[in-house]
Every structure is written in structure tokens, then in C-alpha cells.
């Protein structure tokens, strides 16, 4: 029972006891008082009437008149005169019901027993008779009744007031307690949040202790995550240029070519510093490094302009830049060539030039084919002995829709009329238990079922992501209802969660099926989360209370920021396939994944590996303490 209910019960009991005790005391004492006063009045009236009668002629008419006058003008129940033999000489009695406002039960409950007033009447020396009279008790009962009513009313008012006041005070007192409890619950769920210290001393100490705990955990996470990040970075990046090294770049490329929601095509640019060995000699070690770093810096700038793009240093002299979803070879290579020429124009040594190749790829191609194409083009460019570009227009990706309007038309038709389909991939624990099914979006465009990577770049450009994501959520809920999946995960885009309308509609959808919420897993790419931290935070605040699980996919590179996210209570993390690909042979990556799993577990997150392809990877991931896996080999 809540404290407030108990308080009300206590107030009601106390006030009832107080009411009845004070009512009985006041009625009892008032009754005593009235009885006494009425008795005195009876005696006094009897005596003064007896005195008057004693002085009079004992003429029956006079006696009757006197008694009648006294009776009619006074307030008597009866007046009687009895002679010494006990014969009634005169008697006046109040007849009929008097107008009581006090109810009969009340009069019966508090009767007034007033003694009769007696006086002796003399006729000269002789006894004439005994005069008895009794006053009417109506006014006394009326007074008692109104006292009772007033008392009852005042007790109601006081009880109600006490209850309200108590409720208010209790609310003020216990308000900090709610915060304390929610913080304790959060910590119980391994969300180490800090909260405002309440002014109440005892609560304040508890919250302070919990805040210290949370702060220590956060620091520990920060330190651990930074250490891991350092390790990861060293392991995956070139020491001189800080670009991803060959293995990492290849893993990223692999992920772009295999992942279901990756863009269907894109462009690859390769830059080479020709004659590196000679330049190293003529320019010197330091200047050569500076030149390499300048090239890397240029590639990083271009990478930053395209959301999914990444670059890497393939070997000492070769750099590569991959821009998924874009086949704009001309403009980007122009931009690159201009910048590269700028880099070498001040260098007098004639042999320094930076040839560039640009080509397209499609997802159907293998990693080797794509790299070979770039390499071949680069060889052609290098033969020109100049900083120039070789652009290979061999795109296999024929655009089905020639304009944005056509795309919109096709996407909306697919969305509204044909409906979004979902294709699921199982996420299983090493023991084979299905953790959830990850739903991938499919749209029928021009009679062909297309995967997300194909249409998502256009959907983003046309601002259709919120609608697509809502449709996927609806389809996922239907799938849960049908029983085809026990748990289902869906990918949301940052464009969707930043949209207030989307958030509201998603909450409405979820609120309709509260019993299914805990079976729904929502995930966003780590990169999007870190780029739109505020939007993600708001989204979590709205969604988490419904019981939905929230996680990050394609995670790992941004793990150092985990300290920022731990208080959001993320439920799981999906490690990018780029960490999984060469895991069996890469001790550095193994250390990273193991550390990541440890830290993630310490704050209550499930760790899932993405894009698992081989049995060796499964074994290595299990060794690293990963909870579940997904990928072609898992099914």
C-alpha cells in the first residue's frame, strides 16, 4: 500500500476516534450542564410560583389563572398542583408533538433527565398543596443537536485538511525518493547515471554515494575504452599517415561489398606516389613523410564530405578512397587532381608526381576484381609520368531511374502500393540459440525485389527514410504477431530518429502492442549515433520506457565514446564485420574485441558480431567472449 493511502487511512481513523470521543465528551458534559440548569430552573420557578400562590386567596379560578398564565407564557412540560391528600388541584401539560429539528434517534441517544421542581403552597398556617413543574427540554436538545452537527462538520473539514496537507508534505518528502529509486534501478540495470542530490539529508547521502559509484564507473569505462581505442587504432591504421592500413581498408571494402544494406555501387579512387624509393632519397625521409601525410590529409577531407566513404594506405606508395553510393567520378577526380597538383607544384624534383585512377564498382563484384580494376587504371595513369587522372567509365550499375522524380515515383509506389517487405537473418548465440532475427528492408522496384543498399541513398536524398523506417517497424510488428519471429531487430536511420513526427508515430505504434515491445530491438549505426548524439539521446528517452531494446550496429570504431552512452542504457552492440573479417589471424583485433566485450558486459550490454563468414571466425569470436553472431555462415 502506498504511503499516501496509509496516511489517509490513519487520518480517517484518528479523526473518527477524535470525533467520537470529543462528541461523547461534549454531549455528556453539555447534557450534565443542561440537566443541572434545567433542574435549578425548575426549583426556582416552582418556588417563586409557590410563593406567589401562598400569598393569594385560594380561589380555584385565581389559582387556575395563575398556573395557566405561568404555563402559557413560559416554557414548561407541565405544571401541577396537588393537595396534601394527593388529589390533583390543577394540571397543565404540554400537548402534541413539538417541532424538533433534532431527530428522534438523537433525542433517544442523549435523553435529558431533569428532576421536577417542587414547592409548597401554604394557605395561612395550613398546607394547601405541593406544586410540581418541569421545564421543556426542547431548546437543550436543539442545542445539543446543532453542537453535534457543527462538530461533525468541523471534523470533516479538519480531517480533509489534514489529509491534504499530509499528502502534500509526504509528496514533498518522498519526491527525492523517487529519484533515488530510479537511479538505484538504473544502476541495477548497469546504467551508471548520476542524478541531482536531493536536499533531504539521508537521500542526499545515498544519491551522493551512487553518484560517486557512477562517476567511478564512467571514468573506468573511459580509461578502458580509450585504451582499447588506442590499441585498435594502432592495429588498424598506418603509423605515418593515420589512415586505415591495408588490412583494415580491405575489411571495410569487403563489408561494403557483402553487407546487405550497403550501397549497390560506388566509386574507387587510387593515388600513388610514384618512385617512392627515389623520392625518399632525394627529398629525405622527413619531407617524404610530410608529402605522404599531405596526401592522406587530402583524402581524409574528401572522406569527411561523403557519409559512408573511407580511405586507406594500401602500401608505402598507394592510397585508396572508396565512396559507396556515388559514381560521380569526374567531379571528384577533378577535385583530387587539382589538390594533388597543388601539393607537388613547389617540389622541384622532376620525378615527383601523383597519378590518380578512378573507377566504379558494383556490389556483385569481388574485392579482388574491384582492386584490380583500380590498380590497372592507376598503372595507365602512372605511365604518363604526370599528376593526372585515369578515369575508367566501366560502371556496371545501370541506373534504372534517370531522375529524382522517377526515383520518388518508384519509391512511393513501392512504399504505398506494394508495401515494404522484410527479409530476416538470424542472430544466434554460439550455442545456436536464436537471439533475434534481424530484419532487412526490401522494396519491389520495377518488378524486382531490391535490397536496402540499392535504394537507400535515393531514399535519403528524397527524405523518405522516416516513412520507410515506420513501414519496416509495422512489418516487424506484424511478423512478431504472426509468431514467425520470437524477437526481431530493425535498423533505423538517423534521419528517422531525428524526425519528431517519426518518433511520435513510432511511439503510437509501439503503445498499441505493449506486450510485444520487449521483443523489439531497434538499432542504429554507431557512426550515426555519435554524429547525432542529441537526437539519439532524445530518442532513447522516449522509446526506452516502452521496454524496447536499443542497440548500435556496425560498432567498434567509435567505442571510445562508450562512456558518453553508458547512461542511456543501451542493450546491445553489434561489432562491425571489419573487425571480424581477419580476426582469426589478427591478434590485435582479437585483443580489441575481447576488451570491447568485457567493457560492454560490465555495463550490461550484449555483444553481437556482424558478418561472420567462416568457422574460424566463429571460434575466434567465441574466444573473445562475444555473445552472439550473425552473417552468411550463421544463416
Amino acid at each position: 500500500m502506498s504511503l499516501i493511502k496509509q496516511l489517509w487511512i490513519a487520518v480517517i481513523i484518528l479523526m473518527t476516534i477524535a470525533f467520537f470521543s470529543s462528541l461523547s465528551i461534549s454531549i455528556f458534559s453539555a447534557r450534565e450542564y443542561f440537566e443541572e440548569q434545567l433542574h435549578l430552573k425548575n426549583i426556582d420557578n416552582a418556588n417563586s410560583l409557590g410563593l406567589t400562590l401562598s400569598q393569594l386567596e385560594k380561589d380555584p379560578v385565581t389559582i387556575e389563572l395563575l398556573l395557566a398564565a405561568q404555563f402559557d407564557t413560559g416554557h414548561y412540560q407541565f405544571i401541577e398542583l396537588v393537595d396534601p391528600q394527593g388529589e390533583v388541584i390543577q394540571r397543565k401539560q404540554q400537548e402534541g408533538a413539538s417541532e424538533y429539528t433534532a431527530p428522534d434517534w438523537f433525542i433517544r441517544m442523549a435523553p435529558l433527565n431533569v428532576d421536577t421542581g417542587v414547592a409548597l403552597v401554604q394557605d395561612g398556617w395550613n398546607q394547601y398543596g405541593v406544586l410540581r413543574l418541569e421545564s421543556h427540554t426542547r431548546f437543550a436538545h436543539e442545542a445539543l443537536w446543532s453542537t453535534t452537527k457543527e462538530l461533525l462538520l468541523s471534523f470533516f473539514v479538519v480531517a480533509f485538511g489534514c489529509g491534504l496537507l499530509g499528502t502534500l508534505i509526504l509528496k514533498v518528502i518522498t519526491r527525492p525518493l523517487d529519484d533515488v529509486v530510479s537511479q538505484a534501478e538504473a544502476i541495477g540495470g548497469r546504467r551508471f547515471i548520476t542524478s541531482h542530490e536531493p536536499r533531504t539529508l539521508e537521500f542526499g547521502r545515498v544519491v551522493r554515494a551512487m553518484n560517486i559509484l557512477s562517476e567511478r564507473i564512467r571514468q573506468m569505462l573511459d580509461v578502458e575504452a580509450r585504451r582499447l581505442e588506442e590499441m585498435r587504432f594502432k592495429n588498424q591504421h598506418d603509423a605515418v599517415t593515420e589512415l586505415p592500413n591495408r588490412e583494415y581498408f580491405l575489411n571495410l571494402l569487403d563489408a561494403q561489398l557483402t553487407r546487405d544494406d550497403a550501397a549497390g555501387h560506388g566509386s574507387l579512387f587510387m593515388v600513388r606516389l610514384s618512385h617512392l624509393a627515389e623520392i625518399n632519397k632525394s627529398l629525405g625521409y622527413k619531407k617524404t613523410d610530410e608529402l605522404l601525410c599531405a596526401v592522406a590529409e587530402l583524402l581524409k577531407q574528401i572522406t569527411a564530405k561523403h557519409p559512408d566513404a573511407f580511405s586507406g594506405r594500401l602500401n608505402g606508395s598507394d592510397f585508396a578512397l572508396l565512396i559507396p553510393g556515388s559514381e560521380d567520378l569526374g567531379n571528384i577526380s577533378d577535385e583530387l587532381i587539382t589538390a594533388l597538383r597543388e601539393l607537388v607544384k613547389d617540389i622541384t624534383e622532376d620525378k615527383v608526381y601523383l597519378p590518380l585512377s578512378a573507377c566504379c564498382y558494383t556490389k556483385a563484384e569481388s574485392r579482388g576484381v574491384v582492386l584490380m580494376r583500380g590498380d590497372n587504371a592507376l598503372a595507365i595513369a602512372e605511365q604518363r609520368e604526370d599528376t593526372c587522372a585515369e578515369i575508367l567509365k566501366t560502371s556496371g550499375a545501370e541506373e534504372q531511374f534517370q531522375s529524382a522524380d522517377k526515383w520518388r515515383e518508384a519509391l512511393e509506389y513501392a512504399l504505398e502500393t506494394l508495401g515494404v517487405r522484410i527479409h530476416t537473418f538470424s542472430v544466434k548465440s554460439p550455442g545456436g540459440e536464436v537471439i533475434h532475427d534481424e530484419a532487412m528492408m526490401r522494396l519491389e522496384l520495377n518488378g524486382e525485389l531490391r535490397s536496402a543498399g540499392y535504394f537507400i541513398p535515393w531514399a535519403k536524398r528524397l527524405n523518405l527514410m522516416p516513412r520507410l523506417d515506420l513501414a519496416v517497424a509495422a512489418a516487424a510488428i506484424d511478423r512478431l504477431k504472426s509468431g514467425a519471429s520470437e524477437h526481431i531487430a530493425i535498423n533505423l536511420s538517423v534521419e528517422a530518429i531525428s524526425d519528431a513526427g517519426f518518433r511520435r508515430q513510432l511511439v503510437e505504434q509501439l503503445k498499441e502492442v505493449p506486450e510485444l515491445c520487449y521483443r523489439i530491438w531497434l538499432e542504429l549505426p554507431e557512426k550515426s549515433v555519435l554524429n547525432s548524439l542529441e537526437a539519439f539521446r532524445d530518442f532513447c528517452m522516449v522509446i526506452k520506457p516502452l521496454g524496447v531494446k536499443i542497440g548500435m550496429e556496425r560498432a567498434g570504431a567509435g567505442f571510445s565514446e562508450i562512456g558518453e552512452l553508458q547512461d542511456l542504457g543501451l542493450d546491445y552492440i553489434k561489432v562491425d564485420s571489419a573487425f571480424v573479417r581477419d580476426l582469426p589471424d589478427n591478434v590485435g583485433n582479437q585483443n580489441f574485441v575481447r576488451g570491447l566485450a568485457t567493457v560492454a558486459h560490465s555495463i550490461g550490454m550484449l555483444v553481437i558480431a556482424e558478418g561472420v563468414q567462416t568457422e574460424q571466425e566463429i571460434a575466434a569470436l567465441r574466444d573473445c567472449g562475444v555473445d552472439a553472431m550473425t552473417g552468411p555462415i550463421i544463416g
Binding site: 453539555a30 450534565e32 433542574h39 418556588n47 410563593l51 417542587v118 401554604q122 395550613n126 398546607q127
Partner: protein, 233 residues
């Protein structure tokens, strides 16, 4: 509202007093038997008026015990005689320093002095103790002509009237006159009003209104003191 508040406080007081009162003497007197607590009476006499006065109170007790089995007429005679023997007439103003003071039998016997109502009270109490009914006894306010029935000087006076029958002519027990005379032989006295304790008070009775307010009445006041002195009937 005011009256109600007063009702509450005085009611509380009253309730407390009522609870404190002894209710031992709740049985009505059987005729021919004295139920008074004479030992208490003598102790009070000794403590208030000295050991020498106890002889008077013991004499009173003896007189009552002697009179118990007599006829009413003889009891009236004995009681009247006793008080005329032991009490001298003295005005209240000289004895108690106030205009009018109604003394209890203890005080009257203790001082050996009293005025008209003190005689009447003492005799009334004695006769009631001997079992004479209230219907036969009256304390009577009378207008007395000083110096005989033709005198023009009148004075307020009180006598005790004994009615052999309720509707008969009373015998007058006067403080100033030793003899008991029928009313017709007292032309100097003109009755004004009479009273007794009927309907008002029964010592030890449950209907007694022993509140401070009730004691404002002189008669009630002295009746309460009499009860307190251990005299019951």
C-alpha cells in the same frame, strides 16, 4: 456559542465532582432507627470546636437515641426542649459577622448559639432523623409582631411547623418561645411561605444536584454541609 462552551467546561467540572461524591447512604431510613454517622459528627465537633463541645453533641445523640422509640409528639417535645436548653439566641451578625448565615446543626451546637433559622434547621434535621416525614414538617417564613399581636413593629422570622397530619393545623416550634404552641395561639405570627427538603434533596440520594451552582442557594448549601457532617435520614 458562549453558552455551549460554558456547558462544556462546567459539565466537565460537574462530572468530576459527581464521580468524587460518596454514595454509601443510598438506603432509605427505616423508621425507629438512626442512621447518622455520629462518630464522624463528634470528630468534626472536636476538631472544629474543641473537646469540651463534644459533650453537647453527645448529649444531642443521647437525646435522639432516647427519642427514637417515642411518639412523634414526644419526639417534637424532646427535640424542642433540647435545643432551648443548649442553644442561646444570638443574631448572625454577632456570631458569624454576616447579615444572614444559615448554620448547620454542627455549627449551632458547636457555638451553642444561633438565631431563628439555625434553631429551625437544627430541629428540622433532628426530627427528620427521628423519622418524621417531610409531609409533616415545614420551615415557615413568618412576619412576626414584636411584643405581641397588637404590636406594629414587625420583623422577618422563621419557625418550624409540625403538622400532626398534612392537612391539620401545625404546631409551631419557635426559637424565641420555649413552648410548642398550635398556630392559632400565635396571632403574632403571620405565615408567608414554607418549604422543606422535599423534591430538592435526599441526603446521599442519587438525584442530589451537588454542583457549585446549586450550592449558591442557602438552603441547598446548608443541606450539603449537613450531609457532609454525617447526618442522614
Amino acid at each position: 456559542m458562549n453558552a455551549r462552551r460554558r456547558a462544556l467546561t462546567s459539565g466537565l467540572l460537574c462530572a468530576g465532582l459527581m464521580l468524587g461524591l460518596p454514595t454509601i447512604f443510598s438506603v432509605r431510613t427505616a423508621s425507629g432507627q438512626l442512621r447518622a454517622d455520629f462518630e464522624r459528627f463528634h470528630r468534626m465537633m472536636e476538631s472544629q470546636f474543641g473537646a469540651s463541645r463534644v459533650t453537647v453533641s453527645r448529649a444531642w445523640e443521647q437525646m435522639l437515641r432516647a427519642a427514637v422509640d417515642r411518639t412523634e409528639m414526644e419526639q417534637v417535645q424532646m427535640v424542642s426542649q433540647f435545643f432551648h436548653q443548649h442553644i442561646r439566641y444570638r443574631l448572625d451578625i454577632n456570631l458569624y459577622g454576616m447579615e444572614d448565615y444559615w448554620a448547620s446543626p454542627l455549627e449551632t451546637l458547636g457555638h451553642g448559639m444561633g438565631d431563628c433559622e439555625d434553631y429551625a434547621i437544627a430541629k428540622y434535621v433532628s426530627l427528620r432523623m427521628l423519622g418524621i416525614s417531610d409531609a409533616n414538617l415545614r420551615m415557615i417564613y413568618v412576619r412576626a409582631r414584636i411584643g405581641g399581636s397588637r404590636s406594629t413593629i414587625t420583623e422577618a422570622h422563621m419557625v418550624l411547623g409540625y403538622y400532626p397530619q398534612p392537612n391539620a393545623e401545625p404546631l409551631i416550634l419557635d426559637s424565641l418561645v420555649r413552648d410548642i404552641q398550635p398556630a392559632r395561639d400565635r396571632p403574632d405570627l403571620q405565615p408567608v411561605f414554607s418549604f422543606n427538603a422535599a423534591g430538592l434533596w435526599t441526603p446521599g440520594g442519587t438525584t442530589s444536584v451537588a454542583s457549585p451552582t446549586a450550592r449558591l442557594s442557602r438552603w441547598r448549601n446548608v443541606l450539603d454541609r449537613i450531609e457532609n457532617e454525617g447526618l442522614v435520614w
